[in-house]
Assembly symmetry: D3
Homo-oligomer: 137 residues x 6
Amino acid sequence: MRISIIRKAHFNAAHRLFKPEWTDEKNREVFGICSNPNFHGHNYKLDVKITGELDPETGILMDLKTLKELIEQHVEIYFDHKNLNLDLIEFKSKVPTAENICIVIYDILRKVISEQLDIHIKLSETPRNFVEFPAQN
Amino acid sequence: MRISIIRKAHFNAAHRLFKPEWTDEKNREVFGICSNPNFHGHNYKLDVKITGELDPETGILMDLKTLKELIEQHVEIYFDHKNLNLDLIEFKSKVPTAENICIVIYDILRKVISEQLDIHIKLSETPRNFVEFPAQN
Amino acid sequence: MRISIIRKAHFNAAHRLFKPEWTDEKNREVFGICSNPNFHGHNYKLDVKITGELDPETGILMDLKTLKELIEQHVEIYFDHKNLNLDLIEFKSKVPTAENICIVIYDILRKVISEQLDIHIKLSETPRNFVEFPAQN
Amino acid sequence: MRISIIRKAHFNAAHRLFKPEWTDEKNREVFGICSNPNFHGHNYKLDVKITGELDPETGILMDLKTLKELIEQHVEIYFDHKNLNLDLIEFKSKVPTAENICIVIYDILRKVISEQLDIHIKLSETPRNFVEFPAQN
Amino acid sequence: MRISIIRKAHFNAAHRLFKPEWTDEKNREVFGICSNPNFHGHNYKLDVKITGELDPETGILMDLKTLKELIEQHVEIYFDHKNLNLDLIEFKSKVPTAENICIVIYDILRKVISEQLDIHIKLSETPRNFVEFPAQN
Amino acid sequence: MRISIIRKAHFNAAHRLFKPEWTDEKNREVFGICSNPNFHGHNYKLDVKITGELDPETGILMDLKTLKELIEQHVEIYFDHKNLNLDLIEFKSKVPTAENICIVIYDILRKVISEQLDIHIKLSETPRNFVEFPAQN
């Protein structure tokens, strides 16, 4: 009896899309106004989906309070009110695109959630742009 | 030409998470404030997704008015303004967790919708917590 | 320079619309299915609007963290996962209609927020029904 | 490293569900008030999901500005403020049901987006009715 | 004790902005693509706000079921799946702009709701455009 | 016949709450994590409400396309993908709190919209925090 639960979370952060090994012109060409030097920011919204076997005794897949606290501790507190380029070690060598932020969050949660449970992340950067990882097909 | 349609619905109900065969302490430990003795409640929101072969003549998968009425008759009227623990036979021996409510709704609709159509239920219990059944992977 | 800030909050509770001094028939006639004996429930959403003079030095009307904590402490924790009829003293002699809940929340916050600030409450009981107090005209 | 991005878009259009080769009675019987002769309309909302391999150098799946412009040019401008039955050649021989509109949009975008990328369309016709194509699993 | 309640409703309709006494050029100049000859349409959303004195005995301003039915009967059924220009007598001599639709709905409800209650209408034509009548101070 | 129209807009920006004439300790004490040195950011959402006399001939208060373009030109392009503290002259001597941003937007639009029309701004900084100016009472 495989089932999924989804918990929503959010954080606010600054970033810019910028590769230090490229010229400013190339950054501007590839990333547009998202490479503006003084940063801009977003309210990131997050759907964390957990999939696995339902426990028939409790009718629960995974304790929602535990899931909520894991997301708070490892994602919300870590990303909230930060500058992704300057404050987070994960983006020293990676451009903080929505795609990369989504994968970084997946990797962080993958380490603290039981391997018997699958994880899927949906991240919105603006009300019109979203990323999902891993891709479902 | 397989396609899906989704119809949204909702109902308001009271419940508590409680297993009568457990002590109050164990219920409180596993279910937290959700086991408060006098019940609490939610506005449950429902996405019913139906998947199957499109009828090329009408350009319709399944008549939406029929789907709407089946959901009203078998789910909305049955659950709305009810106490899930006390009023619904399905939860006499099952804890009314969001996971179990989602599966019960799936089972109810499975009996009244053609077997040639797949059903998928997404249930939200609060604006931040959702369940999906069956799991898509 | 008068300005308003709004903070959103929410809680989940059970209730029924019922006047003990009336017969069951009269309760059913006036309150309909909302008077069902075993209770039902809602995800209540709350907009607390605070209005007053902006502090020109800080550019702040009222510290949002303080407002958030006052709402948590006096409203969210007090109402969340409760049965309004059975657990809250305010509804011993008052029917917990959305209108009365909205006024009770106003009265609670009025006691803990500076008199120099006006308060306005918007409460949603379902995605389609809202109450506002005091009326703005 | 397969990942998905989603871009939201919308357009407003008039339509009626009507098959010219059927009698008015049969149209009314199958399509109900959606076959009213003078048309009605909707704010259609669109989620275009693109899935493929992430470019590890840029951290980007597909340039969002390009995606936004392709949707604007080929879908939003083409459908917006139009009468689907009278103004669009695609619906000369096809009933403009939500299912058929969704497939037509898929076919339009399939021609202008790289074959190495998968496309998935979610279309809402009203806040309660949605269609997805192609069906997932 | 003045208080307000709000009930949400919606309908789907076709329209065009067009004054028959003007030339097509003048209509196009003033109303833009909204004057396209074959109509376009919207999902209109409606907030009906009712303001008055709370009944201290019931804790109710106005019975919500009555309000819901008045809106259904006089607004939703009357406007839904219609062509505002061709099917509704109110727009024979008035352009069906969002402003005029909002005032027409106000006038319709004003006739069927007690004079002791104030009415305020908020109408959305698209997710980004709204009208409110009467204007609040 | 006074009526209001509302147009929604949005922009993404970075900021920090910081008064240069204060010590870092005092900034941290008053503004909390919002004073983090490397900035953070938000998706700001904006409701611009315009109030005035309806033109009875066109049924229009103010041309929505004109309003949309004024907001785009003077607000969206000016604020979007910017660092409010570093890039905008308005915040050289003013802390970019949500309250001050709301007033700055009001002042910008007040200069380009006819004096016969009233303006009211609602700004959301996060999904839970909003500001309104001028205060309505």
